[in-house]
Symmetry: C2
Subunit: 146 residues, 2 copies
């Protein structure tokens, strides 16, 4: 029963583990690369902005940023104009990871899909997109019907 859900979650776990292993080769933990990717694109963003971009809650970003600051990948600095805001800046170490991490990620994507033909890959992407859409709709439709 629930063939698809089971297969998907098993796949999810395997991919997660593979990604984790790949990231750890560069001293990163899973998820931190997403945060870095945002900062690579543009420095000095706030936790809230990053959270929205990565589709995660703000506290998650705050905690992760704390660990990454301890690890010397980024620094936290208060905004001068609006003192509520905190802005995250890359350190040289954080900036230096860009190339290696992006490569690592590309390689993983390639390895994981290497047994698929182009057609299969296309089917997979479009079907997955539909599932994603349905699942998102399900979540959004939770509030109504008062």
């Amino acid at each position: 029963m629930t063939e698809f859900l089971d297969l998907h979650s098993r796949t999810s776990k395997a991919l997660r583990a593979a990604a984790e292993a790949g990231m750890q080769r560069h001293g990163l933990h899973l998820g931190q690369n997403h945060l870095l990717a945002i900062l690579w694109e543009r420095d000095g963003r706030t936790p809230g902005e990053i959270a929205a971009a990565v589709n995660v809650t703000t506290p998650a970003v705050v905690k992760m940023a704390g660990r990454m600051a301890d690890a010397g990948l980024i620094t936290r600095r208060r905004d001068d104009r609006d003192n509520r805001l905190v802005r995250l800046w890359l350190t040289d170490a954080g900036r230096a990871l860009r190339g290696p991490i992006e490569t690592e990620r590309r390689v993983l994507e390639q390895k994981v899909t290497e047994n698929l033909t182009d057609t299969e890959r296309g089917h997979l992407m479009s079907a997955l997109a539909k599932v994603y859409q349905s699942a998102s709709d399900l979540l959004g439709g939770t509030i109504p019907a008062g």
Copy 2:
């Protein structure tokens, strides 16, 4: 970049959230249904057995079992013959959830794949299976090459 990985993880998150919502309607947390499913099939298993069956580490099962025992879904009892072993037994409350939870899960699977034709669903399953295989191979292949 990394189209597939991104789409998959987004889908994963949406499915996870949807499953969580569904389970909470019955007072369960995500993941607990897997543990219950094992016990529904056969009572009195050990944390180690369950961990292997669900493909999770033993401490994860121990912690979850603790919470579920507190919630009155299962009870823990030491094995008489081998005192190292602990066996988990369903309470009436835990047993009663079987029908509702299995239905909930089937409904979710159906809703999430309802926009797929049979062909699409078949393609999705087989492609996902290949990805799963590749990812698993990647993990297994971490040790060698000394």
